[in-house]
Amino acid sequence: MTLLKREDWYDLTRATNWTPKYVSEDELFPEEMSGARGIPMEKWETYDEPYKVTYPEYVSTQREKDAGAYSVKAALERSRFLDNADPGWISTMQAHYGAIALAEYAASTAEARMCRFSKAPGNRNMATFGMLDEVRHGQAQLYFPHSYTRRNRQWDWAHKALHTNEWGAIAARHFFDDMMMTRDAIGVSIMLTFAFETGFTNMQFLGLAADAAEVGDHTFASLISSIQTDESRHAQQGGPALKILIENGKKKDAQQMVDVAFWRAWKLFSVLTGPIMDYYTPLEGRKLSFKEFMLEWIVAQFERQILDLGLDRPWYWDEFMRALDETHHGMHLGVWYWRPTVWWNPSAGVTPEERDWLEEKYPGWNDTWGQCWDVIIDNLKNGKPELTGPETLPVVCNMSNIPIVGTPGNGWNVKDYQLEHEGRLYHFGSEPDRWCFQVDPERYKGHLNFIDRFLAGHVQPPDLMGGLKYMGLAPGEMGDDAHNYEWMSKYAKAAS
């Protein structure tokens, strides 16, 4: 028997729209869930997904992917990699799993929204597979860290983090809720699958895989790069939706969705991916700097694709380009300084050799962030560790929910972008963060970031211990310096 080629029958079987007789089209596809934006059904039927797959193909391919990732895990289990891994790398994995694993499960719900409510049959078909993909990502990224939970309680945060009010978890949840849990089907296809998955997930799942392979963690490298093969398929749901929006006079809407999602993803990655690539990953394992990976994946690849699909650069492009040399250094300094408030042990990453590397990758580093680290190093050298920990609260952005940072030292430019809305004063870390709020204040106005909650009396007692309790961080979970300050010996020696 000769099998037909997929392209000879696919279009016919995918055409699953029908004319409803018992309910109206609006009841079948409510606007708030479908997001058709006034574009008629027949236009959505022209949706042509570029990366096609059928159910039998999907099952056999996914089986092969899982067999690969799980067999690498099983084969390397006895290599005791983790016993000898640099503590900075352990922190990298703990930060990754906590911020990502449950968000993957949530992404399954977002895919399910497209699967049920998109008016485009092709979108519904691909989202069926996307939904299954995200279950795979959630399960694998809980299963792998679960085998480490007997080592210490911080591994438990792979599952626990997004259930808590830890500040980073609030930031991640606010972002993912905004991009994927509270958008209509077309919004999800643009903001989650196009803006986030075509672009930023490459940073965390391929850039970081390159670092993982370099430090010898082939289990992690294999798992996350395998996950990304699902992403590269289901991320292709946004492109055809964009095309239909643009063809039907909705370019402005599409551009705005992409610009909001892009900026918000950038800010989340500046606190998650930036520090782990440039400070936690052991020096010899850093394949590229965070900025170099951003230039590879986000500028050269993703933004180029945005232009090719007929959208423009985001209006804040110059500020984004400028911030590539700045934001994540500030985030790292903040995370290390407020280290009891995270579920991993931040690596300082500022030995003399690491500083040389930072100066090479980011000329001027020693003159700016270096000056702050000099003070921390002096305090540690002079036996005053209490001066290197949190005394006060940072000002936190009401959009990104992460601290407001800028360049310190000789390049000082730290600034609070404020907005008064309905009698409440909001603080933002940048003009684009404030703009995200301004284009849809109803969506964001009620949210309280960690500092708002503190000032509103939710945190009791209102001190560090109360704050840690509110964040769900018990002893054994809260972070401290990854290397137990052993890196300071390099400075003690230099002084003597």
């Binding site: 090719d308 380009m321 005394e391 000002v395 730290v414």
Partner: protein, 126 residues
């Protein structure tokens, strides 16, 4: 500890933020001006075969390969084709185009894939 909210920032609203990065930002921007397309494959047999196949299936074009140890980025300008038959020859075993997905972690440009070939392309040239 942790009891007072200190305003540790200064500066005014509505003025454009400047930093030492302004000159570097222009350099960063240069990276956008490219027409590179092609697959990013997890390292292994399939990636190696795709490197060979890319040379065969895109005659006259310069194929660049960046080896990042965890993945290989294979690219050329404008359009890159990988044919099923060529992949089969390079792998030395039967190959179906859908198998590419097992290792296709990402790609530059847009994708168009059917039973006989995968094609990576851009509509516009910069």
């Amino acid at each position: 500890m942790f009891s007072r909210l200190k305003q540790w920032f200064s500066g005014t609203e509505n003025s454009k933020r400047e930093g030492k990065g302004s000159a570097m930002a222009t350099q960063n921007d240069d990276r956008l001006k490219n027409n590179k397309v092609g697959p990013v494959l997890r390292s292994g047999d399939m990636a190696d075969a795709a490197v060979d196949a890319a040379e065969i299936d895109n005659p006259g074009k310069e194929i660049s390969v960046e080896d990042m140890r965890a993945y290989l980025r294979i690219s050329t300008d404008g359009e890159l084709i990988l044919k099923r038959e060529t992949m089969e020859e390079c792998l030395g075993r039967p190959f179906e185009m859908k198998e590419l997905e097992v290792d296709l972690s990402s790609f530059a440009g847009q994708i168009d894939i059917n039973t006989d070939r995968a094609r990576f392309y851009l509509n516009t040239a910069l």
